[in-house]
Amino acid sequence: MPSPVPLSEAIAAHVHDGDTVALEGFTHLIPFAAAHEIARQGRRHLTLVRMTPDLVYDQLIGLGVADELVFSYGGNPGVGSLHRLRDAVEKHWPHRLVVHEHSHAGLANAYVAGAARLPFAVLRGYRGTDLEEQRDIISRVTCPFTGEELAAVKAVNPDVTVIHAQLADRDGNVMLWGITGVQREAVLAAERAIVTVEEVVDEFPEHTGAVILPNWVLSAVSVVPGGAWPSYAAGYSVRDNDFYQQWDAISRDRTAFLQWAKDNGLPAAQEEVTAHA
């Protein structure tokens, strides 16, 4: 049962090359510090799952950590493109990135099915869209009562899910509140789960809308104050909107990106290769 461990230990123990890894957090509570630790430890060939890749996966993709991406919206919210994601898909830099894409409703329900250990979920959606051509993850089922045809999505069950939360208690139970996104489902869908938290408290406060995860569904808890920066943790920090703006310029250019990686001690797969190949 998890008493706090250093983040480096948690990542080393639970995130392996080739794993399917979900880092969740919808704008809020994005586990950036854990993502950087994954990169720092040189993980490769990951399949990354996340509704909104956001800067956190733009960074990992640019660093060459991922071979595949499962996602539903790949923009820099309010700013524009995710340039590293685009470069990987359009120009295969640093290498080719295979994408599997959902709508938000589809990927949210894929996690729901995963959390329930069901092989698929049913939803209203996708009908008539070209997203349906990805038949390995999006299909149809017929209602046995009404004959209506509905969309089906294949369950997502990550090897490991990583989230950031506000609090752990002394027993290693975890609490998050504010916009809680799909974190409950992402944790419960995973084989293993790692949580970074702002702090450890004796007793949880009352928060309407909070999600509490008991310690026995978690593999490791690490105390990482500010672990969501430049995203935010409600009650602890605000979103660093300036960094989200700045990232546009950093990420647009391979050299600038590699310099950013170097400055932050993050090994890049392509750092030895000519930047503007």
Partner: protein
């Protein structure tokens, strides 16, 4: 600066104001990033103070004090009546048809209101990788009515979209199989398009001040159908412009 722009306002302002005007007081409105966010909050600060803002991040009845910079801003959760999980938002609220109005953007749109926000080129090897679907496919299917906000140009208003991310009225305008009414309005920087009641072909029904039918035709990648009696959109009022600029400056108002 386009022809219709003035010192007081430009075509983007007009587009946002026109979109805001379409919201009725009491509407449940699903708001995404960008222009929809601006339009919905503008409506709330002008003629539709009881317009209910729902964000796909889970915030229901959000009453943001400043224009939120993302759909996951803390201000949304802090001011919402309720915050639900993302699966619940899509299953119990969007998918269940509880949204009166959904706003969508588009990288490409065709004459039957089908929308692409996924790729330019082939999906497996795209020329341009766009952000993708987000909440759009299900909003397009399930919202009572859908308002598309998009600048008009031949690159955007195309004969055929490269990828159908969100369905309007289907390839020939007759294939729509969804609970909602579909894209009932397409609001551009030139004017407003509405589906023809018989064929669902997007038809120019209103022009923004200073814009000509000819300009609208030139900005459209297919032979644009124009309504017999085309209407003129009222220019932005002083009140609308003031509220718009305050929103853009992220000035706080009492919720």
């Amino acid at each position: 600066m386009r022809k219709q722009d003035t010192a007081e306002w430009n075509s983007a302002d007009m587009m946002n104001v026109a979109a805001a005007r379409e919201l009725r007081d009491g509407d449940v409105c699903l708001v995404g990033v960008g222009p929809p966010n601006l339009a919905a909050n503008l409506a709330r600060r002008t003629h539709a103070p009881n317009c209910r803002l729902v964000y796909e991040s889970g915030a229901i009845d959000a009453k943001p004090r400043r224009l939120p910079l993302s759909i996951g801003d803390d201000d949304l959760a802090a001011t919402a009546t309720a915050v639900v999980s993302v699966p619940e938002m899509f299953n119990y609220w969007v998918g269940a048809g509880r949204i009166d109005v959904g706003f969508l953007g588009a990288a490409q749109i065709d004459r039957f209101g089908n929308i692409n926000t996924t790729v330019i080129g082939e999906h497996s090897d795209p020329k341009t990788r766009l952000p993708g679907a987000g909440g759009a496919p299900e909003i397009a299917a399930a919202a009572g009515r859908v308002i598309v906000i998009v600048k008009q140009s031949p690159r955007t208003f195309v004969e055929q979209v490269d990828f159908v991310t969100s369905v309007g009225y289907g390839p020939s305008g007759r294939e729509r199989q969804a609970p909602g009414a579909g894209p009932t309005l397409v609001i551009t920087d030139h004017g407003v398009l509405e589906p023809d009641p018989q064929t669902n072909e997007l038809t120019l029904t209103r022009l923004h001040p200073g814009v000509t039918v000819e300009q609208a035709r030139e900005a459209t990648g297919w032979p644009l159908k124009v309504a017999d009696s085309i209407k003129s959109v009222e220019p932005p009022s002083e009140v609308e412009l003031t509220a718009l600029h305050r929103l853009r400056n992220r000035e706080a108002v009492d919720a």
